[in-house]
């Protein structure tokens, strides 16, 4: 039933783009995993991870944390999105975190009650974790304000008293760096010392080999698991069954990204955020659906169109404007 298949493909594409389908291990991710693992096992209380938008920070963090469980054992983890949330008061802040925990009673009680309930939840689980710590992953952490750090400090102290540790993974845009500088300048070293002592700049794919290894990962992924088929089989089953591999797209894709980068006039070497890479891949696969067959003829123009449609070009334009603004000052 071709219609149903196309619905299914749309679903998969959407899920991929929202970062909800599966996570792909790229060389950047592998490095990221190594760094976080090091932070967590050496007793830190937090770390900054910053980078341009659309680099795939959220997905990469999710992937790294998931892999971390296999490396160092289970630990309690809360993912807290910070953008557009009403978290101005202490009560609202802790309620939001409890909500993210999926805590049954996140709605009830005073600010103190909610803080205590969160403490209890964290302590009980941190104590049983091999790393003796609980991790809160704040996504878009550049939106956190002074008070939020103060409240987190309280929780963190509470865990220390109970012989375990709170680790705040602050993931956000480059403004996070400015927040840190600001804290240092205004004498809030305590917060910096606690949560921001470690930092990592997150980048995108910056070499053809990295792009190819990401494609290999994509190729080997089985999705959806219940159907037991390779991810690309959803789009080009005949070609895949005849031995086509996604990494064959690598050189064409890299050259397309490179071309756009150079054309935009942005300084430095090419960096491709994960998001645009995924979008370009899915765009390409969707185009290839109709020409699926034993021998797949892939034209450079198909890949280039997909890369253009990924939004990479627009992101470079914004980057260029920002660059000019900075140098203008």
């Amino acid at each position: 039933m071709p219609y149903l298949q196309s619905v299914e493909r749309t679903k998969i594409s959407t899920r991929m783009m929202a970062g909800r389908a599966f996570l792909i291990k790229t060389p950047i991710c592998a490095n990221y995993l190594k760094v976080i693992s090091n932070w967590l096992t050496t007793g830190s209380h937090g770390g900054l991870v910053y980078g341009q938008p659309r680099l795939g920070k959220t997905s990469a963090t999710r992937w790294a944390l998931k892999m971390l469980v296999e490396l160092i054992g289970n630990f309690p983890l809360i993912e807290v999105p910070v953008r557009n949330q009403n978290i101005a008061s202490e009560k609202a802040f802790f309620q939001h975190i409890l909500h993210c925990v999926r805590h049954r009673h996140y709605m009830v009680g005073s600010a103190g009650d909610k803080r205590d309930a969160l403490n209890e939840w964290l302590v009980t689980r941190a104590k049983r974790a091999t790393i003796n710590a609980a991790v809160i992953f704040f996504d878009e952490a550049q939106f956190l304000k002074n008070e939020h750090y103060k409240w987190l400090l309280n929780i963190s102290n509470e865990l220390d008293i109970n012989g375990c540790r709170l680790f705040c993974l602050l993931v956000g845009q480059p403004e996070l760096e400015e927040v840190k500088t600001n804290f240092i300048e205004t004498g809030k070293e305590q917060i910096v010392g606690r949560f921001m002592a470690r930092e990592l700049e997150f980048t995108g794919i910056s070499a053809q080999e990295d792009l190819i290894s990401a494609l290999i990962e994509f190729h080997n992924t089985i999705y959806p698991i219940e159907n037991n088929i390779l991810f690309a089989e959803n789009f080009i089953p005949q070609a895949i069954n005849s031995g086509f591999k996604l990494n064959a797209l690598g050189p064409a894709m890299w050259s397309a990204f490179e071309t756009l980068w150079i054309a935009s006039g942005v300084s430095g070497s090419v960096v491709v955020p994960m998001h645009y890479f995924t979008a370009a891949l899915i765009g390409t696969l969707n185009t290839l659906v109709d020409s699926d067959g034993e021998f797949l003829d892939i034209q450079q123009s198909i890949v280039m169109d997909a890369v253009k449609a990924s939004g990479f070009r627009e992101s470079l334009k914004i980057r260029k404007i920002l660059e000019m603004n900075r140098s203008g000052k």
Partner: protein
Amino acid sequence: MALLAEYDQTSWRPGTLRIYESIGSIGAKYCYLNKVKPKEFYNLISEFNGNGSYIDSDNTFDNPDFDFAKLAKLFEEPISIVSKLSLNLINDLPKLYKQTRYSLWGNNMFSYCPTCMAAGYHSELHQIHWVDKCFIHGDNLVNVTNKEKSIKGFRNDIKLLKPIFDTWFLNSAIWESAKTSRWSLIDNELINTQAKKFCSALIYTEKKLQNDSILFGKNNESNLLLQVKAKNSLNRVFKTVHQNKAMSFEKPLKYPCSAEIADLLVKIGPKGIGHFMHSRQITCIESEMPIWKTILNDLPKSLLKKHSKCLKLYKNSFESIEKTRIRWCYGHEYVHPPYDMSRFDRVPCPRIVTLNLLQMLLNVEDSLIPESITYYGKCNSKEINYSFYDIGSLDNLIEAGIVTKWIGYIEIGTHQILKQYTPGFMFESEVEPDFRYINIPICQGILTEIIDQLLLVHLQTWICALYEVEMNSNVIDSQINLKNHFRAKIHELSPSIILKKTNDGVELLIGTMTSKRLPKWCNSIRDEKGHYDTVKKRSNELEVTFDELLAYRMRMNDLFQLRANLIRSFVRKRS
């Protein structure tokens, strides 16, 4: 497929759940850890209750539909612990359960062991109403009234949550580690060992009980103890937890008879035995003179020894009260005399109190049969007829010669020494008839022997209860309703009896809570002269109080009449 966000995360400290822990204990900890009100815990529990199919238990965890697996998952506790929250082990003992109804205090009591509470533990096994020692430590249990109201849709044990929460988390002194992040708790192994001992005594008894006996007695606790004793399953644990430690257990009384008769006797059932005890009491003729009858006949005499003057005083004061009432109430027919019965109970001499209570005993309607089997709705004042629908086969009993029919008149009220001092009696003729016509089956032969023995045991209990009430001056001088107190005393001291088939007939096993020796009534008073003076003084006081109250009521009545007349004349003038 809709994607439903499930808020299934809660705070619990895995490894802290204890076996047989009460839902109140768990709920208190849950509310503390999650910083929520009890209502949130109730809602949580309602999700585990399933269809909540009806069971006759106060215990939430005895619900067969309760989802223990889900609870285990939520709390991350091993299923081996979670499945041991239920008391089903001892709830499924139909023979014991039917006869002893060892229910939980549930409704209005919070019962706990201080040592267990100090170790963060409370169990439903502390709530069983006949248990007054901790099954783990042997400590005396503390009983506190629980004022919490029942919660619709939940079993009563959930009412324990608030008192337990308050004990642990409001008064910090009880369980030291309550508010720390690491609770020190009682050891699960210890609970397991002790609970096993306790439960196996009950289970062993249940196994040994057969359908070849009748058990009767008003006091369920004593009944249970007798059953356990009779089956030799009384172990140390059971002995210490039981409150009625003073039960004496006599050698069985044997009544040889044929197997057929034995069968018939056991089939009469406790209700039938009750009927025969009653009918024997009202139809026993003087010439038979069984021991219980002799004791009963002699009782008023020995009670009046050294107190006949008191009775005379009481009589005089009572008469003067009645005369005042009759004289002054003439023309005041709307005045209700202050017949405050509690005032009459608290008459000046404790012995008069006893006589009053004795009179209550000897009312035909209130005679020597277990309360649970009376159904006096069926008698009117002129006639007593029983329905024998539940005695088994009456014809078979008559054919076997152990029952016969008795038709005729019985005299009533013969023992009512103080009957003439009942307010209103003196000047009214024929409050009740002196004779009643009855047509009832009565016992014969071997059944009579058994019934006489039962009546004797019950009478001994009654006399002891009378004596204990009279000796307890605190009770007599207090505002407690003496009749209720006396009934409660009878209940407490009630004997337990098992009528059981044997190889060569039947036997009676009797467990009594009183001494076999009857009290010596005379010894209770030393200074006879002083006693009389006190009684005289108090009699006068009683009269004065009565007069004052009566006068007050009449005055109020006059005022009322005056006002009514005024209104009437006013209305007349207007029209």
